[in-house]
């Protein structure tokens, strides 16, 4: 897949994820025991054969740079400059939500100039979507239809829609209507899946036009030009989730424990890559009891665990009972604790004997580094 460049955009701040994005950009919110949100989009792009990729970060870029390195873990070569981390996320007007911020493209002009000579199409992906998607097929579809833009969409999306998700109507594989979910007129569960393929020249023209039109949101530009442009829709059939709130984060985590979704996301042909770590294998003691859970390396499990995600280097001491919960990296759950329907961010320590119980609708969320 030469002639293509992939861009992972910097999603607008998801206010409902607040505790999780206070100290990190949304790209690097941990999920699934060892992944960061960005791993899914990045792996999908890599698995399609694209090897020129730009990732637009925010002003909090330490964890992103640390996570991605030179991209070797995603099979990207540093010698051929396969991966570039781009700056972004500034110049957002107060109160306004910019879904796909063209200013980020303008700020990184040097990158686009460098890679664009042989490029025909640009793939734009969000950084907070969970799926294992065969982008190659969508690209094929885009080219066969000689589309200006191909927008990937999920019909009958059942997940939560925050105000700034885009929804659409589709007829004969073409996008006929596009709007924000907050907009009353656009009642629809046919959601834009935050992945599109766009002709490079069209994107360049749109960026050029920003200077005169002042229209900074690519989605708005597309909405305004639905009739002038050849905009196709490509459906995503498999599992798809947008992570935009505590609830959607929790639901997605629990869904990853479903045997079928588990298999689709992790055991298929296309692998989800992430940064590897030198952890020991998970250590189960004689007292451990566990079922229906995802467990990462470096963990020590002495207690009982059911329907949970136990992330790297978490320690579960004796007598602990964990159910329907997400325990992030380096958490320590001391003796005889009970945790149900909760999300514990990294490095949380729950001291012995505590009981933390949330509801399925409103799981507890414990902030990074807390001691409880």
């Amino acid at each position: 897949m030469k002639h293509l460049v992939g861009i992972i955009i910097n999603s607008p701040k998801q206010k409902d994820l607040e505790l999780m994005v206070r100290h990190r950009s949304i790209h690097t919110v941990p999920i699934g025991g060892k992944y960061r949100l960005i791993d899914f989009s990045l792996s999908n792009i890599v698995n399609s054969g694209i090897s020129k990729i730009g990732v637009i970060g925010s002003y909090m870029y330490r964890s992103l740079v640390d996570h991605l390195g030179s991209g070797e873990e995603w099979n990207l070569s540093s010698k051929s400059n396969d991966l570039a981390i781009l700056h972004g996320g500034k110049n957002i007007k107060i109160g306004e939500i910019t879904r796909i911020n063209l200013q980020d493209f303008i700020d990184n002009e040097a990158f686009f100039t460098k890679v664009s000579s042989s490029v025909e199409d640009v793939v734009l992906c969000g950084c907070n979507i969970i799926c294992n998607f065969d982008l190659k097929e969508a690209i094929k579809f885009h080219r066969e239809n000689q589309a200006d833009i191909t927008m990937v969409h999920k019909e009958d999306y059942t997940g939560e829609l925050s105000d700034n998700e885009a929804v659409m109507e589709v007829m004969d594989h073409k996008v006929t209507k596009l709007g924000y979910s907050a907009d009353r007129r656009a009642q629809s569960h046919n959601v834009y899946a935050d992945m599109m393929i766009i002709k490079k020249e069209l994107l360049q023209n749109i960026i050029e036009d920003v200077k005169t039109t002042g229209e900074i949101d690519l989605l708005d530009v597309i909405t305004n030009n639905l009739e002038n442009l050849n905009i196709f829709a490509y459906p995503i059939e498999g599992y798809f989730k947008i992570i935009n709130s505590r609830k959607s984060y929790f639901d997605c985590s629990m869904e990853l424990l479903h045997a079928e979704i588990q298999r689709e996301i992790f055991h298929g042909e296309r692998k989800i890559y992430t940064k590897t770590k030198d952890n020991h294998p998970a250590i189960y003691s004689v007292n451990s009891k566990i079922k229906n859970s995802l467990v990462a390396s470096g963990t020590i499990i002495n207690g009982s665990v059911e329907n949970a995600i136990i992330s790297r280097e978490a320690i579960i001491e004796e007598g602990v009972k964990i159910k329907n919960s997400v325990i992030m990296q380096n958490c320590v759950i001391e003796k005889d604790t009970i945790i149900v329907n909760a999300i514990l961010d990294k490095y949380v320590r729950v001291t012995s004997g505590k009981v933390l119980v949330g509801t399925e609708k409103e799981p507890l969320m414990i902030r990074k580094d807390s001691v409880i």
Binding site: G32, G33, K34, E73, L257, A259, Q262, F266, H267, K271, I272, Y273, T274, T276, K277, D278, H280, P281, A282, I283, Y284, S285, V286, N287, S288, K289, I290, K291, N292, S293, L294, V295, A296, S297, G298, I300, I309, I310, S311
Partner: protein, 371 residues
């Protein structure tokens, strides 16, 4: 790259025939250990933690997989400029090539490699040891003693002593005599096969040994006695801690099971001198609805729906429903189908154990090896 203080030569050579069919397609140091690791990880990680960034790996048997595994050494952070890990297979010239004849011969055949670095000291390591050791401390000791050679020793059980090279010490830890596998050991200070030589002394000794047709070209049998005879300054360095030679199926199995023991003789979870490895990019392991796991080590990528107890599972192992794994070691990508039972066995990479099949017996003395 010249004048590095100390480089390491790691003897990874032996076919490891005592490890039976585990080494059919893989050199001994490349055999899996403790789930995700390979035996050589322990020595290479020690090198990194000891600030020894140049390691020659002397290998002759099935170097292909080991070569791929080691790559440029970046997995052990040994990919510094002009330093790193180098695989050194036996050299073939126009007259043909030879299998390394002995430990000393293997090092001798790579004089050119060491000359290229021209270090002050050379650390000789063995590729089939499981331990954590800070060689920097031993090097410091060597320099303080102004020794020509330092031999790392540890106390072993008296009844085991005759399996080792035994050092007899004078005052100040000076080695007076050295008995290779003595029938009646005079003490229980055993050589661990880890040496730090002054390079100038080693170089000269190897050349003389190579020209001696009566020699077995072995460090313990030939080089050390020769240097002792010449009154070189040779000291013992006392190592305390966990150390195992895993050269036989029994010792290999036992050392693996040590990782599961309550006493944590070797604690993988310790952050100190963490063992590095060439990590696979696999998903977290998934434990199904009806699974049961205790007293085990489980690696990423496993999919477990059966019962696992007192066992070690490497990457990407599948255990079907009602299957039972007990007292066993399963290598990468083993598939155990529904209802199969595996007890006290070692199952090599990519093996598939069919439905309801029974392998091994927990009460048997023998360890079954399938590869």
């Amino acid at each position: 790259m010249n004048n590095q203080k100390c480089i390491a030569m790691l003897l990874a050579g032996g076919q490891g025939s005592r490890l039976k069919n585990l080494t059919v397609n893989n050199a001994k140091p490349g055999v899996m250990f403790g789930g995700k690791y390979r035996i050589i990880d322990f020595s290479l990680s020690n090198c990194f933690h000891s600030d020894i960034f140049t390691v020659g790996v002397l290998t002759q048997y099935k170097p292909l997989l080991l070569n791929r595994y080691i790559g440029n050494g970046s997995s052990w952070a040994l990919d510094k400029i002009d330093q790193g890990v180098y695989i050194l297979p036996p050299y073939v010239d126009k007259q043909g090539g030879n299998w390394y004849f002995g430990t000393a011969d293997a090092v001798y055949q790579n004089l050119a490699f060491m000359d290229m670095y021209n270090p002050e000291y050379v650390l000789i390591l063995s590729g089939d040891h499981i331990y954590k050791m800070d060689y920097a401390k031993m090097l410091k000791y060597t320099i303080e003693k102004d020794a020509d050679l330092t031999v790392s020793v540890m106390e072993v059980e008296w009844e085991e002593a005759s399996r080792f090279g035994i050092t007899n010490l004078g005052e100040d830890m000076r080695i007076v005599t050295f008995d290779e596998k003595p029938e009646k050991p005079k003490n229980n200070m055993a050589s661990m096969g880890i040496y730090i030589f002054r390079w100038s002394i080693l170089r000269e000794a190897l050349i003389r040994d190579a020209n001696d047709e009566s020699s077995d070209h072995d460090f313990g049998k030939n080089i050390i006695p020769m240097l002792l005879n010449e009154n070189k300054s040779i000291f013992a360095y006392l190592f305390e801690g966990y150390w195992r030679d895993v050269g036989t199926i029994e010792s290999y199995y036992k050392a693996n099971m040590d990782l599961l023991s309550d006493s944590k003789e070797f604690d993988l979870s310790s952050k100190e001198m963490r063992i590095y490895s060439n990590n696979r990019n696999s998903q977290p392991h998934y434990i199904g609805e009806c699974a049961n796991i205790d007293n085990s080590l489980i690696c990423d990528g496993c999919l477990i729906e059966g019962h696992v107890t007192h066992s070690i599972l490497s990457y990407d192992v599948t255990v079907g429903k009602n299957a039972v794994i007990k007292d066993s070691i399963l290598f990468n990508k083993v598939v155990v189908e529904e209802g199969a039972v595996i007890e006290k066995a070692i199952i090599g990479e990519n093996i598939r154990i069919e439905k309801n099949k029974k392998i091994g017996n927990e009460n048997s003395e023998e360890i079954i090896v399938i590869a």
